[in-house]
Symmetry: C2
Subunit: 165 residues, 2 copies
Amino acid sequence: MATKLSSRPNNRLPAQRADQFGAQVPGVDYGVLEDLVGYAIRRAQIRIYQDFLDALGQWSITPPRFSAMTIIDRNPGLKLTHLATAMGIARSGAVEVVNALEKLDYVRRVDAPTDKRAFALELTEPGHAALKGITAAIRRHDARISSKLSAAELGELRRLLALLG
Amino acid sequence: MATKLSSRPNNRLPAQRADQFGAQVPGVDYGVLEDLVGYAIRRAQIRIYQDFLDALGQWSITPPRFSAMTIIDRNPGLKLTHLATAMGIARSGAVEVVNALEKLDYVRRVDAPTDKRAFALELTEPGHAALKGITAAIRRHDARISSKLSAAELGELRRLLALLG
DNA sequence: TATTGTTATACTCTATAACTATA
DNA sequence: TATAGTTATAGAGTATAACAATA
């Protein structure tokens, strides 16, 4: 069994946070914040993140952990440095995420045959099973957050997001 | 003068992060991540955040700090608990952000006349001056990140974002 | 009793820098 | 020398819980 990191495993967003930052508090003047696209994105992301945590809390999974598991699963023989590059984080950050996933018994470090400094990352058996459930839950989560958009609107949203930044 | 919190003040995103999570690493299979709207939002937000830090680093300002300053500025007599509610965070988190802004000499706690437990939050003189510059920099940042979109597309993006989550 | 602000504690994500072992 | 992984240290954002002072 995976060791739970805590009873409320992840970033401890409070319950009331869901009411906020997507539905601003009435009576409060948010000034320029209302005009900023960046702020609109931020609010959307906070709402989405809250739903993510609600849906995934039982797996002790966070967005970066899910990204790491997925990338490890899809790229056999991946090394830690490559994982860091793929995720866009520092090597030390990749060590942390791999340590967390190892503690959960989702991921394993395996000696690399050709390089004694390195090792390959791979999912454990429980990790494979967990990733199936997690992926299904995340697909449902993703469908839920985008349920108010038509297929055409979703495509347009993706196109516009890709133009941002 | 505002005390700089550090030479690279904020969340220390590495320079190479800008290359990533919006332009995935070639040769890496991202699997289901590519399909998820939530992931597309996350990548957009990371790109935007990087630009935010590049533009605002000299002010020791982060998105939550900017939100707090703006809300304090626009809502005279605001109390700490109200700031927490407005920002959608716990009271203890509001204490932290106010402490940070106080250390920067941007915000001040003033005794509330009617309630001896509470106080009103307000910008200091340097805080007002800083907020002017910060706001201008953030407006430029916001224009920059959305420069590839037409006005109509921006409106559509806002509409679609509001439907998400 | 309930609320205001605070502090204690904890977890996640991220960074830079220095280090060890190996290439 | 350069690279792979690790550890040490640090900052920021967030949470829950308990507490003193006041309402």
